[in-house]
């Protein structure tokens, strides 16, 4: 995937789709590394909208001072329905040409990468994607920028819910983000010692009734052993009608006092943890290096601790699943599993 361009004078950068902690650290690394090679850096605002509408500003070293630790994105983000139409894509391309952009770096998720794939049809410049989404649902990288912060935010919140659940020997259903993947739910569930994890990896919505029976039986087993609380971690978009529905079923059908918590958008914000700052910094620098050697239509990610590239097409296949060693670990510590094995 080598482009024909040799001299890079100016790059564009934008953040798109759901914001993720570490996006600022990635912007900073891109700008600082670009500066090393005297490459000018144009930041477009509000995702692809800023590209289409030519809303941008020049980013220099002082633009990215003291942002490595900040949540959100200084370039703002947005969904951009215009990019689904050829008109919108061509406007974006026109801007790139008019502004003499040699390469465009996009930090975002699968929707953002599809935007690049559309631009690719009409533009000769280089296109580099960086995985920025809390959902960790991109192929070609073990972790996306923002994922590690999101799971830490979630475990800190759930540790607090554990306090009140323990005080009342109470059951709680906690719904976590993840769009259509279970990476957040599964990792958070294990890290919180949740008694149940209901995730894409181990649950099919058709089995909801069976699962409820299983949960009720497990809760009773726990209560018989004088255990204190029972946390059910649930991936969003999975249980029929959501967490509230599961809670109510437990209450109405089985008289189990059950609280519900939908963590929601707090998972998107906050100062990025070290892992996300480091990953974002490495990938931001790697993006400039990739641009310099003429790469295009790739996403840079981290696979098995090394910086690797995949095609944008490969990045959006949604085939990445929760690591096997995590699933195995989970099965070997879960009280329910234990109970069944004996």
């Amino acid at each position: 995937m080598m482009s024909k361009q040799n001299t890079i004078r100016r790059i564009g950068i934008l953040t798109s789709g759901g914001d993720a902690p570490g996006m600022n650290a990635a912007i900073r690394a891109v700008v600082l590394a670009a500066h090393q090679y005297s490459i000018e850096c144009i930041g477009f605002f509000h995702g692809y909208n800023g590209l289409i509408n030519q809303e941008y500003r020049l980013l220099d070293n002082s633009s990215v001072k003291d942002i490595i630790h900040k949540g959100g994105t200084i370039l703002k983000s947005a969904r951009c329905p215009e990019m689904l139409s050829e008109t919108g894509v061509k406007q974006a391309v026109n801007s790139l040409i008019k502004l003499q952009i040699d390469a465009l770096i996009v930090i975002g998720g699968d929707g953002s990468f599809n935007g690049m794939l559309a631009i690719e049809q009409h533009w000769q410049g280089q296109l580099i994607g960086l995985p920025g989404t809390i959902d960790n649902d991109l192929d070609g990288t073990d972790f996306t920028i923002g994922f590690s912060t999101a799971i830490n935010t979630a475990i800190e919140a759930i540790d607090k819910i554990r306090d009140t659940a323990d005080a009342f020997d109470r059951v709680f259903v906690v719904e976590l983000m993840g769009r259509h993947s279970g990476h957040i739910a599964f990792n958070v569930g294990i890290a919180c010692g949740a008694e149940q994890i209901i995730s894409f990896e181990n649950f099919n919505a058709n089995d909801a009734n069976k699962k409820v029976n299983e949960i009720v039986s497990d809760i009773k087993h726990h209560q018989s052993q004088d255990h204190q609380s029972y946390l059910i971690v649930l991936a969003e978009n999975l249980w029929p009608n959501g967490a509230q529905s599961l809670s109510e079923q437990l209450k109405l059908q089985y008289s189990i006092d059950c609280g519900t918590c939908i963590l929601g958008h707090i998972q998107r914000g906050g100062s990025p943890v070290a892992k996300d700052r480091l990953l974002a910094t490495k990938l931001g620098v790697a993006a400039i290096e990739a641009v310099l050697v003429g790469k295009t239509s790739i996403m840079l990610g981290e696979l098995k601790t090394e910086i690797e590239e995949v095609t944008l097409n490969d990045a959006v296949q949604h085939t990445k699943i929760v690591a096997e060693n995590l699933v195995v670990a989970h099965e070997n510590i879960l009280a329910l599993a234990a109970q069944n094995k004996r």
Copy 2:
């Protein structure tokens, strides 16, 4: 309110109602201070249930080692419907008599204090209440144990929501706890720089439609000034059909993209902030001192930085409102107000 008892040999302690961060610090202070005067301390589990069922254990200094910083309550808490019947109250009293308890210290909210008022009808021992609830809805104390932690937990969560709201120039409705008081919502709203606070102090459910118009107008004013995000902090049990309903009205009627977050039970948990640890420690010690001088049927609280007592009856009047100086401050910084004044 002086009791006739002179020698205190054994006290009981329990936590009741919604748990609050700092309850453990209060338990610790009671136990350590009791130890100073060679008073035995019996901890009842699960609120009044442990008293009724005589589920308890002796608490000594080592029982309260390393708990000052822990959320929840080592004595557990619970609602106790039995205390609403005379049968239940008499069982509780029987336990107190049988176990030769000289004084009972209850850490909880208004429901818990009503339990003490019922016991008072049938028991000669001393009854001391300590204000333990995140809602701050007790009279006779400027702050309840747990309130300061709850508002800090909330502002940390809302700071994260601000990140993502800023990234998308987005409106969010955030619903906070408080039962039927606006202390949490109002304090948190100001501390987060929320653009709107909808609380018992400044809103009547009958004016919902008028309020929506006001909000929409204010949002448009903000957007015209290129402001980045707009947070509406809402007290629970106030808006007709809750936060989700307000969000949907903004979306459906006015096409304002609006997120919703119901913070829920994370506000109950977590390690108590310094203020709650200090308040709990002072009140726990004061409870033992009050017991020693024969006080009964009182709640100890902090008023204007001094430890003060009020009768249990006075504590549950629900007359305490958000401090005037806070409301004034709020009115003088709110952009909406500014707009109107000019």
Copy 3:
């Protein structure tokens, strides 16, 4: 203390001395409240240096957007030795006159207030001080802006030290800030359940040897009871040669394995807790109200939960001591005290 001025068109504001979390919240409140009355707000940078050198900028509502939760100060701070000379003071006054400032609001500690007292000799404008220092060593206010955050930062750090101290059954000496007052040390010590608090309230440097004996005896008492760790919280500028010296004495003379931690400047930074944001907001608004009614040469503070004013002279007397009810509470829970009483 009424000034003769009636119409306020322009005020100046600066932050001076050691920075404190909440200074930004105070700047924000001043600017937003000034805006309400169409008063122009000039922010001077780097404390009094910016006043002397006329380094400033106009602050409007957008200047203070999204700063309520930020540590440090957007106006920067600095010590300013020039203000100790008449030349420097006159330069400052010249700037105030030249820029047609009607009132100057200074957020800082005692040194900063002395600067205002010097300016008062040469200037007819109004001077309002707001208490901004983590040390809580100003009279006329129960709490200074920054103090609550500093003690929370300290307890979070010490909770971590407790973890490792517990793991090793180890003694630690932790030195806290406070300049020459024990507010931080005493409050933090109680909130952490420290086994020893060595502070201005309960220790004289001449008694160091006696104190060491007392500590060693108490440590042995704890160890005999199988307690896990032993934390000594120490105010800075108090123990002869500091924390390290105490640790070494315990190690060398008594073979007690003792770690040392000097928390240092992390106590100055970080996002302000709710209490500091609220206090700063109330005082910032009150400063504008005071300016409008012609007040001068006062500091605004919070006394017994009310906003009050004191003269700048009274604010810097250093007579405020740790609240009696806290000292009493401490004496009644400390194991050492208990041991002595029995």
Copy 4:
């Protein structure tokens, strides 16, 4: 490395050396996984001391309830000089034999693993090490349990120091743990956007004077560009006479106002971040699986996201260095490097 044992009835577990966040999560996983296979679990207290002195207790599922999120170690830790003598080692072995331990799992660092290597000479049972140290200085694993939490604790502290450094445009030297490796310093330095990282990877103590000149020149370059603050992150045991000495040199020789902060033991404590909880859980389960298939004298770690084993001997070679991609990233964003390249 297959042992001859076939049936595992009882295992021992201990934590040794400097405690690290996540040790409790590892203990929990070992105990829960052992329970799955009806293996009894004996926990020895205070590291090898508990083995030598037979201070232990049986650990069942309820022993490890609600510990996954706790810092420190419920089994306590300690250095154990006795293990350096044959007498001590033989006592340890005698305990293992007497208590009919089939396998011993040790969570700790290189010293702890040397203890196992000594036991290996005299005992037929299985020996499994898990990497538990904040320093990340073990070979055979990309990350040790505790490292991720330690760097997050450090960046949160340094973010606060940045606040006050920014407020004063000030230089700070921050010394971090790491014993004799730069993993903490280097990762933290990058994650904080430190202007200088002085670590084993890029500095030799003989070049101290040259380095000071370089730093001074870089500070001046920053100041000329109106940058706000300058953070120097320093690995412990590296700079001649430590951080304080570097600070003083900058002050005395170059009149650069320079603060110092030695983070110290707060880096050891605190609730483990998700990464450490997950790693500890995976390795704890893997330890039981390794025991079941007869493995011995190995350490289990995570290499390139897979659970792998290395011999204990290989684990303690101290050859692991900071990842190349991190060093490269660092060189490409550092202002100093940029300055030199141009």
